[in-house]
Symmetry: C2
Subunit: 346 residues, 2 copies
Amino acid sequence: MSRVKKDSITITDIAKALNLSSSTVSRSLRDSYQISDETKQLVKDYAEKNNYHPNLVAQSLRSNKSQSIGLMICSVPNNFFAEVISGIESIAYSKGYHLIITQSHESQEREAKNLEHLMWRSVDGLLISLSSETTDMSNLKKMHEQGVPIVFFDRVSDCINTHQVVVDNSGGAYELTKHFIESGYKRIAHITSSPDLSITLERKEGYLKALAEFNIPVNENYIKYCLHGGMLLDEIAECVDALFDMEERPDAIFTASDRITIGTFAILHKRNIKIPDDIAIAGFSNFSSPELFNPSLTTIHQPAFEMGKVAAELLIELIESKRPVTAFSKKILPTKLNIRKSSVKI
Amino acid sequence: MSRVKKDSITITDIAKALNLSSSTVSRSLRDSYQISDETKQLVKDYAEKNNYHPNLVAQSLRSNKSQSIGLMICSVPNNFFAEVISGIESIAYSKGYHLIITQSHESQEREAKNLEHLMWRSVDGLLISLSSETTDMSNLKKMHEQGVPIVFFDRVSDCINTHQVVVDNSGGAYELTKHFIESGYKRIAHITSSPDLSITLERKEGYLKALAEFNIPVNENYIKYCLHGGMLLDEIAECVDALFDMEERPDAIFTASDRITIGTFAILHKRNIKIPDDIAIAGFSNFSSPELFNPSLTTIHQPAFEMGKVAAELLIELIESKRPVTAFSKKILPTKLNIRKSSVKI
DNA sequence: TTTATTTGCGCAAACGTGTGCACAAAATCC
DNA sequence: GGATTTTGTGCACACGTTTGCGCAAATAAA
């Protein structure tokens, strides 16, 4: 594409036109106290009239700030993350930041590469939900040490002392498990993500707490891990089949993520298993219309949009803070259990 | 955030360390023929060893290229667009471009503002699916005239002579309508997006073609438009209710987009209308598991990921082309009709 | 040996902004 | 009226790269 010469106007152009120096123009536009009101007005009027807008790239080079924030998630086509993105974008937009999106695809290697790219891009800050493979945080630490503010959300880590935005994973899991038990289910299986993830630990914790509370013994074989977070349906199918091959089959499944919930439901369908007669199912999901499923699906819904907003706000606050921030917060948003037919005995 | 001094190394640093000029270092790294092999190797080794990476912002300023592409869609949390994003990101990543995402929320005003921001960011190119409100293309034209390559996808326009990537909207709609007719439905309604959109026209075209082929008279009252593309459920509910208030009620509904399909299905559910006994429903949707619905949902599936890939490839080709491109193509990807229970009489 | 060519490198300017400093003119103070 | 402060502006450089041009040394041609 032969680029047509951009007809955008620069500070130097204004300076020439008004017979001023570029420094005076620059200072006028930034409302410097050193410049007389008349000159300021003159410059501003001319700028306005000629549709001047500062060259953001030049500003970035000069200031070492890019007015952009990086986002690292495992996958965009995912009900939960898509909503998070939307929340982040709404804040970023209103505060004048742009959003650069990268996907880790649950791969530590890809995540590391993306982080490198984002650093080279000199993003002003990073929002990250860790990939399910990630155990080595050295890249992230390095980035943080070099002064890039980071805010964790969803899948967090304590390896860096910074803000975290999560939902009450343990509470949500507890509530659902309790609901299962009170509905008469005793043998409750749990299909979840990689055991290293914070969300996995917390959700399992809530699950175990409910079991303990009702004196139901824990069967470790009832807990199945999808190391790739359910990216592949086969991975989930293996878990389901393993559960059904057990001598004492579970009578309910608590699924720990959007992908896994929808995937498990789909596999049960494919295997022609009656829900909730043969087995009940419910779990974390942000699908917009779980009431449309057959049977309607009980879900733990997360405030994903809100999570994106809060995370973005915290990050931008960090970026724009004049002094080093030392006190960090862990925001815990509530989940909502929506009981439907897939988890209630008829 | 007090920014710690970045410890990244620059060309000037290398020059000083090796007692060379920065121009020699720059040329060495870019493999210029003007530099001796020994010097090149020396520089490259040093750069490699000290983990040098060019400052992309400085390169952008110098070259007037930002290695980033802008994306404008109406909404991220949408099965179709989320997949498109993923496709775009995969290509962008592999070609060294970053993706800057903006949402129009089906608003012409917001779209225009976002376009401005993207221009100021000096994105190298733009991928756009128009908002349902957009009728004024002057911003877009201006952007294009200033030399920013643009590729349309999904919701396209002929106002600019450039590449377009779409699916066979007319064909998909025709196929589904024909399926309805062959399944015994005669009074087929159509709930669709804003009448100005390309996809609306094309899908309606396919619908009308099938009706004509089977000599079914067109009832204009059976065609309902959601001016905001179904962003709000109320908008869809109005359409559904209007259809049910008619003296001669339709016996099937063909819905024209993901949002509208899921929304209509949800409203029928809420109204306790039996599908497909009372009314059949099917339409465009990229939801991952329509077989889980009650009843399973007949859909026209679009190759969204593929569409993102193709659009991104075409755009990057435009961006990187040495000479002005004058021949533009309109890629038409196939749709896939998946017949399930929601559209078949029992 | 002299002239012409090639080879390898550095100087300096440019992209568009922002800012420390100098400096002249105006205003204020003794 | 002279000394001092205030006010307003411009010069010059920096951010990190890239590139046209010039120039000396090395090589080739005459």
